[in-house]
Symmetry: C2
Subunit: 327 residues, 2 copies
């Protein structure tokens, strides 16, 4: 009898779909949402084809400190760019990047970074860009953990994505980052196929190569700025259905969460709070800390979350572990 009970307890433990989550309000809210929306005949049942969940990436699915991974990519591509266009060596902001002066680089302004992004992310074919990102992401390492960026994904969020997919939710990434950039690794890292990655995207020029074959060239002109209300626009354009679940961590996710939370039936909107300086980082006004260059949970957004019943996930308290490795 004891053996039976023990075996049964073990079976339950083994089938917990969210083992990296501590028992608490956040985990309870997720499990209740999934049960309510997948119980056939229940008042809050959602037809499988309408089960859409959207996830911000930076700061929600993986580390965004000390700087967005894609910005790191752009900075690290500058030497190759300057080798090809030596005239840039004495032009700002490329000159500062080439100096290797960390303090000066950290002080680059948003327009500086946009110039660097334009120069390193566009003006090449889609194939060439994909190949360059693929190579970089396989070798580049995060300065703190000395591990590939793709290992700095949050284990609890990966479990959440798998749990939702096991319940017939389609999981989409809706990122302010570059759509083409994230698509390179999203299947492997998150189990999300390219057609379920929505991100900031530029226009594409269609032309013909030497053998008459079509060539798609990435242009600097924006097609979609997938931040703030742009996230809702991206969801409307690429999905055409309103999500039932949305996960973010900063003001750039506000409209996506508002849009998802409004409407009939069971809905869940959650924000990841970076409040674990030991295991990851603590930053942003909701922690009583100054605003940072990366997306933050402002006091206003925290207030809106409380008012609307959105769940704020405390990394410190809600997550048993942060990464798949022990930091």
């Amino acid at each position: 009898m004891f053996a039976l009970l023990a075996a049964s307890a073990q079976a339950i433990a083994q089938t917990d779909p969210l083992p990296s989550w501590n028992d608490g309000a956040a985990k309870k809210a997720i499990v209740a949402f999934v049960q309510a929306t997948t119980t056939q005949g229940g008042a809050k049942f959602i037809a499988p084809e309408e089960r859409i969940a959207t996830f911000d990436q930076d700061g929600t699915l993986w580390v965004e400190h000390p700087i967005y991974t894609q910005v790191m990519y752009c900075l690290e591509k500058v030497p190759a760019l300057v080798a090809k266009k030596p005239e840039l060596a004495n032009v700002e902001p490329f000159k500062t990047v080439m100096s290797g002066n960390h303090d000066a680089i950290a002080k680059l302004t948003l327009p500086d970074l946009e110039k660097i992004a334009g120069a390193t992310l566009t003006g090449m074919s889609v194939e060439q860009f994909n190949a360059e990102v693929k190579q970089w992401i396989a070798t580049a390492k995060h300065p703190r953990w000395k591990r590939p960026y793709t290992e700095l994904t949050y284990q609890p969020m990966l479990e959440l994505m798998r749990y939702l997919r096991a319940n017939d939710f389609k999981t989409y990434i809706v990122t302010g980052g570059g759509q083409d950039f994230v698509r390179v690794y999203a299947q492997q890292v998150y189990g999300v196929p390219p057609e379920q990655v929505i991100g900031t995207a530029g226009t594409i020029k269609y032309s013909y190569g030497h053998h008459g074959q079509p060539v798609l060239t990435k242009e600097p002109k924006l097609l979609l700025n997938d931040n703030d209300a742009g996230k809702v626009e991206g969801i409307h354009f690429a999905i055409g259905r309103k999500p039932y679940a949305a996960f973010g961590n900063s003001t750039g996710d506000r409209q996506m969460l508002e849009y998802t939370a409004a409407g009939d039936g069971a809905r869940i909107a959650m924000l990841v709070l970076h409040d674990d300086a030991t295991r990851e980082y603590a930053y942003g006004p909701a922690n009583g800390l100054p605003d940072t260059k990366v997306g933050t949970l402002t006091q206003a957004l925290d207030d809106e979350a409380k008012k609307n019943g959105w769940v704020v996930i405390s990394m410190k308290n809600d997550w048993r572990r942060i990464f798949s490795f022990d930091p």
Copy 2:
């Protein structure tokens, strides 16, 4: 023994996935493509998640004569628009539409039609637009057949879509028509969910309603013109994978077919030729007929098709039946 053979012949007949197609080059090419790409271990096998097929809508999946269905929608919405904004009654091109003079309406220019489209397709919430289209599409009738437009889909193409889906292809509509418009009926009519409809789309304004709820308003500014090279841009943006099969009928589909046909492995690019004046229509230069307002198969595109080995589908010869009803 004879009974067994007869039963077996009947079983084969029953399982023909393309019964509305005559045996001929077009049908053979389709079946050969599907067999090659789905035979495990074969040289041209495509992994299921990469099986993407894209379809133009107007003239490829349903009738586009005498005028695109969506243009008919816009024209028929003008009286309601003028009732709301009486000052438009004396302003062109609305005045001409209100006159009911068919000859004058048929002579409206593209800029005229764009003005009418802007006034009838934008400036309202997404929900209101969807409701209006839903109501119209359920009641409006084609002037020739006196049947709902949604019955004027080509039976052979619906069979082709089902056949591809049965073989794990994802079928996308990639239309120059309005994305929001087509999404209203695409699931019901074509079995294509909203997230697999790519079309011409305007920007969306995000604001708040009386109760603080998010409101998405359709704006006249273009986000994507999903024609010509815009179809490739739309495919890259919304799917992020190159299709293996593409179907169109006019110059607006040229780049989509070129893009799809270029590359390794089995690929299929097909054009529907409207050469059946009795059962449907015959039009366009490839028939030796004058160009029309709707998309046509030009001589140049016909030449490109022949040169590249694209298959031109003759409605007259390749299709045993055109519609699900007998016209």
